[in-house]
């Protein structure tokens, strides 16, 4: 019955109620959309990194994770690779030789990570091949080949078919020179990656390292579906307790931080919106109570307990905030869904976005948890703002309130 009363009281003053509902709805929708855009950006970054080079899981020897030395390669890689071949959740993998060294041209040199790969395997594991802007991926006719980022080529003043000198250390600490022909140039979403990564054929470096079999420092694994990650990781970890099996979050924690910090920002923004809302709602509800001072006084005179009057007013705000919240979720959700489908084109900011590895088309999305959390935040805040007016209402002395003059 209180509910009925509260509901009818809400619609008593349509203009006022509409204003409260619309402001709650807009505030919530704004917060949801802003959060979704930021999360979309974070997601884009993460997916770019996974697609580009990271993969879902990586396996190294624990020694390599402490010290990225040539000598810290995985001792019996074949066992791991055989197991990976049998796992249904694995889409592809690439066993890489990693060498830190320098790339030089006639007039310039730059510190790089030389990655020795099996071109076919690498092609299946990452999307790098699709990011070539010139040439091919180590499938050319030259004896020694390299594929480098366009940015690095610019820095070194080199072009396709130019010769590039790669310098690194072998297992005994001797400096090794490798002269290679640039057969491919790539451009990814990350300028840092483009500047620091050089791909060569694994058999070429194996030969130069004086080894009979390839030295594997890193096995990058791509899964068919990221939801299988925890299970696959556990399987591999238990199967090879002497190796370090890690997911992308552990290899590149800054990516994980980005997405959680985006969450924090969204909550912060919504908190500010809530402050603004609370004040507006408190004011409006206060006046809504004050204009009913006679009616409320008489209710209490006639025998309605103060507690019930309090609840009645709170209920009005609850209904208002509920309607506003639903409307906000609807508007926000629709906007997010629309842009998720069509994408937001931010190519004007390409450089900045590539600076921290995000693509230029954003697909906003918001995890269900955040929808719920943000909506609850706003609804709760709206009700907190009603506490003061409701309290004021029940503090009225009936004797004074019923006086008409």
């Amino acid at each position: 019955m209180l509910f009925l009363l509260a509901w009818r009281n809400v619609w008593r003053n349509v203009k006022r109620s509409t204003i409260i509902i619309v402001s709650i709805a807009l505030g919530l929708a704004g917060g949801l959309f802003a959060g979704a855009v930021m999360m979309g950006m974070g997601e884009s970054m993460i997916n770019s990194a996974i697609d580009r080079n990271l993969g879902h899981l990586q396996i190294h020897s624990p020694a390599y994770r402490r010290d990225a030395l040539v000598s810290n390669y995985i001792r019996s890689p074949q066992k791991v690779l055989s197991l990976l071949d049998t796992l249904g959740s694995v889409k592809a993998y690439s066993a890489r030789t990693l060498l830190e060294g320098m790339a030089s041209s006639a007039n310039s040199s730059y510190g790089v990570t030389i990655t020795g790969v099996d071109p076919e395997r690498e092609r299946e594991t990452t999307a790098l091949v699709s990011m070539l802007v010139a040439g091919n991926f180590l499938a050319d006719k030259y004896r020694t080949q390299a594929v480098i980022g366009k940015k690095l080529a610019e820095r070194l003043g080199l072009k396709l078919k130019s010769k590039i000198i790669l310098t690194f250390q072998d297992r005994s600490g001797e400096i090794v020179y490798m002269a290679a022909r640039i057969v491919g140039l790539f451009k990814t979403e990350s300028t840092a990656f483009d500047e620091m990564t050089v791909f060569v054929r694994q058999k070429d470096v194996t030969r130069l390292l004086g080894a009979r079999k390839p030295l594997i420092h890193e096995i990058a694994i791509r899964l068919k579906n990221s939801s299988t990650l925890p299970a696959t990781k556990a399987r591999l970890a238990s199967g090879f307790s002497d190796l370090k099996v890690e997911e992308w979050r552990e290899i590149a924690p800054e990516l994980a931080f980005m997405s959680t910090s985006v969450e924090s920002f969204t909550y912060l923004f919504v908190a500010i919106i809530i402050f603004a809302l609370i004040f507006g709602i408190t004011n409006t509800m206060l006046m809504a109570v004050m204009e009913r001072i006679h009616e409320l006084g008489i209710l209490m005179a006639v025998g309605m307990k103060r507690g019930r009057v309090f609840i009645m007013i709170l209920m009005e705000t609850l209904l208002l905030s509920f309607v506003g919240g639903m409307l906000g979720m609807l508007i926000g959700g629709a906007a997010i869904a629309w842009f998720n489908h069509f994408g937001i084109d931010l190519s004007a900011f390409a450089q900045g976005l590539e600076g921290f590895g995000s693509g230029t088309t954003l697909y906003p999305y918001l995890p269900g948890v955040m929808y719920a959390a943000l909506t609850v935040m706003i609804v709760v805040a709206a009700n907190i703002s009603a506490l003061m007016p409701a309290w004021k209402a029940v503090r009225l002395k009936p004797a004074q309130a019923v006086r008409v003059y």
């Binding site: 204003i19 807009l26 855009v37 310039s108 510190g111 003043g157 603004a276 004040f279 976005l353």
Partner: protein, 404 residues
Amino acid sequence: MLVKLAWKNVWRNKKRTLIVAASVMFAVVLAILMRSAQLGSYAYMIDSATHLQTGYLQVQHRDYRENRSLEKSYVPPVGLKDTLTQMTGVSAVAPRLETFALVSHDSVTRAVGIQGIDPAAEDAMTRLSKWLVKGSFLEKGDSSLIMGAGLAKKLNVTVGDSVVLYGMGYHGQTAAAILNVRGLLELPLPQLNNSAVLMSLSRVQYIYMAPGRVTALVMMLDHPDEMARIKTELARHVPAPLTVIDWQEMMPELKQYIQIDNASGLIMLAILYMVIAFGVFGTVMMMTAEREREFGILNALGMKKTRLMAVSAVESVMVSFIGALAGLALGIPLALYYVEHPIRLSGDLAAAYETLGIEPVMSFSARPDMFGAQALVVFVIAVFCALYPLFFIRRMRASTAIRH
């Protein structure tokens, strides 16, 4: 006369005035704090990046940016450095010779970035020595080197050890040396911490056979806002083939990142304004309803509606103005307080900042034009909301109004 009446009305019902003014004041404070935090973070990022890496301006050979080789180093013309230092607004000028090398210790070799610096000038400018965690900082003409702590760990060296340096010198000659490690720096940016090696300028020039040559003259400014003006002035003193570039050209990703952040920040501010607008409008709407009887009586007694509207308009402007002023009175000190005492961040947010090489604090900005802008916007919103009473008065019928 109208104004006097309006003024009296405003103070007649203190509670009412207070509620509307408070609404406006609160809005101004919120808007100020939000914008201040946004601008503060950009300023802070720029400050950190310029101090640690590029400075605000650099004089380089015009081809150096695309072709980072020693071939594009130059010998600073006589007197240029002094001219630059003496220019108003420039707080420090430091020469640098940057190049690459392979550095090895025992059997470990790493590719590193070599920076030849003037230790005193550089330190004054970038406060580099504050990152020192072991050993001692470079001195002028030093024959030792200092490196990032991360790099030292990879090479397995500590203070007192020697390393072998190997690189490509000027005109392609081989550059090689054995150097002593005299200090370690824990640099906040992981990329730098794992690859930076610093030596005295003269030493690098010697090893790389590039006597008197630098790759850049790095400049810090007193006031970042003056950068454009100073850059134009500098350009006149800098002869070809040299050129002056600013941090935005050197770090376009940072510039664009700030642009993106600023754009999204403005959108968030717009959302805030919308919510505020509704709040103030709701307040005004209710206030007007409350005064219906009063308006009706005044009209019935003979006050023309246009007059009534004029008085109401002036009242609204006055109350909004009071609110805006109060908002400034509260918002400015609050923002200034946070400028002096930035909020320390914690948890994942803090970790994210640290990976960007920035101290995890939320800093605020106290730019006078920002304060004015926020107060103005909210004031305008409030005045717009004041249009409602005018419509109300126009539609009002005195007889029915009085009966309320």
